[in-house]
């Protein structure tokens, strides 16, 4: 009862203040996600995407220019760690040794997505480029084209669609159920789920950070009941710091999941018996 009354009092103080431009107010979603053009046709998300490609290129350029005979250090060490991570933890686990030819594609994909995710926690940038649907949608579409093209190349058009619609090893009676499921799963759900998973996770993380940042600010800068509200403001601020650290993990995890699923789809299209 007391806590409810207290909460009501806090809300009654904060909400009118928000209406007057003070206190807690959550801005319209488009003002958080849609960025104005810095120059015509280029906004913050575009700059992040370009910078991600540029930073990735510079990292691997610097790494490839170092003397390979010496023990790797700095950029070369980092680049080699990423390459080995992709080869051992993604390709060998999902596609086997025959999938090593896909290393450049999966490596580029992982680095690009990770670098697009990371600005979500970098101060003064604080916007993951993948929290907008454009990049995840393109990447998912590209993966869809790649794994279907790979399947057709390895099994032929008829063989690929035969194996997709009638998976080997499944009892024939189950094809009534499995075939439509596989059709929708492979051709529609896979790219959709890839794009939405990445986009939704990064968007949710971004919104959480915005909410806790705004809440911390409104409580710490409260104009009334300061003795009560400022100490409370420490709680969302602490959570904001925790969530920021958590977003580092999420940024890596989402890049990893996207890349692993891509490898699984390509591996499945190459070797349908698996």
């Amino acid at each position: 009862m007391f806590s409810t009354q207290l909460a009501i009092q806090v809300v009654e103080k904060l909400v009118p203040a928000a209406g007057e431009g003070r206190g807690f107010s959550f801005p319209p979603i488009n003002t958080i996600l849609r960025w104005k053009d810095v120059v015509p046709g280029i906004n913050k998300v575009v700059i992040i995407a370009i910078l991600s490609a540029l930073i990735g290129t510079v990292l691997f350029l610097v790494a490839s220019m170092k003397d390979a005979r010496k023990a790797p250090k700095g950029a070369r060490n980092l680049a080699e760690i990423i390459v080995e991570f992709i080869e051992k933890n993604i390709i060998m686990e999902t596609m086997g040794k025959s999938g090593m030819g896909w290393t450049p594609f999966l490596l580029t994909m992982f680095v690009f997505i990770y670098l697009c995710n990371l600005p979500g926690i970098i101060p003064f940038i604080q916007m993951p480029a993948t929290a907008r649907m454009g990049i995840p949608a393109f990447m998912a579409l590209l993966v869809w084209v790649v794994f279907n093209a790979t399947g057709i190349k390895h099994q032929g058009l008829f063989g690929y669609f035969k194996n997709v619609l009638f998976p080997p090893g499944v009892p024939k009676a189950l094809y009534i159920l499995v075939t439509p499921i596989e059709l929708i799963s492979t051709l529609v759900v896979r790219p959709f789920s890839l794009a939405v998973r990445l986009f939704a996770n990064m968007l949710a993380g971004h919104l959480l950070l915005v909410i806790f940042a705004l809440l911390s600010q409104s409580l710490i800068q409260a104009e009334t009941m300061r003795v009560f509200l400022i100490p409370i403001g420490v709680l969302p601020f602490g959570l904001l710091i925790f969530l920021t650290a958590f977003e580092i993990l999420v940024a890596f995890l989402q890049a990893y999941i996207f890349t692993v699923l891509t490898a699984v789809y390509i591996g499945g299209a190459t070797h349908p018996e698996h």
Partner: protein, 199 residues
């Protein structure tokens, strides 16, 4: 602006904020958001620039950077592998040398032990012979000494017997007034000395 707080049995149920004109801020915000573009829909420029950035990055990586990096990695790994193989070969050769050395050492030790045993046997035989020879010499010397002692003892005995006979004759002459028969005295002395020697 007014705040409408609805509670049910003390729990907070709803908070509504209304302006003086009667429009709630929630409604105003919703209206603003529905008139704006869908926040989920991708923007063309983000899609195009994102795609372009990735594809350029992919081409650069695929054609130039990754092959160069991988070539360097493979060269170093092969070098390390060769070094390992060379180290293994050296280790194997060293183990073989150690085995050969140990075999030779064992052979030499066995030969040395055989020689030592042989020398010890020879030494034992020589020592036994020397000891036997020394014992023989000691025995012959002991026999000679025993013979000398016996001879000396006999000589001394005759002298003692003569002295005792002389004393006995004189003592008898003084006591009886005439000299006893020398043969009887000597016989009696001989008997006494033999009896004394036995007792």
């Amino acid at each position: 602006m007014r705040v409408h707080v609805t509670t049910l049995q003390g729990d907070l149920v709803e908070v509504r904020v209304s302006s003086e004109e009667g429009t709630t801020s929630g409604e105003a915000t919703t209206a603003a958001e529905t008139t704006g573009p869908n926040p989920i829909s991708p923007e063309g420029k983000e899609l195009i620039w994102g795609a372009g950035s990735f594809l350029v990055f992919l081409v650069i990586m695929r054609v130039f950077l990754f092959p160069k990096l991988k070539k360097g990695m493979d060269a170093r790994y092969n070098g390390i592998r060769e070094d390992f193989e060379q180290a293994d070969a050296t280790r194997t050769a060293a183990k073989t040398d150690v085995s050969k050395y140990e075999a030779a050492l064992a052979e030499v030790r066995a030969e040395a032990a055989a020689r030592v045993d042989k020398a010890r046997q020879t030494l034992d035989q020589e020592r036994s012979a020397k000891i036997a020879e020394a014992n023989a010499r000691i025995a012959s010397k002991r026999a000679a000494a025993d013979a000398e002692i016996s001879a000396a003892r006999l000589a001394v005995r005759d002298q003692v017997a003569a002295a005792v006979a002389s004393v006995t004759e004189r003592t008898t002459q003084l006591a009886v007034g005439k000299s006893p028969d020398a043969g009887v005295v000597q016989k009696a002395v001989q008997q006494v000395m033999q009896t004394g020697a036995r007792s």
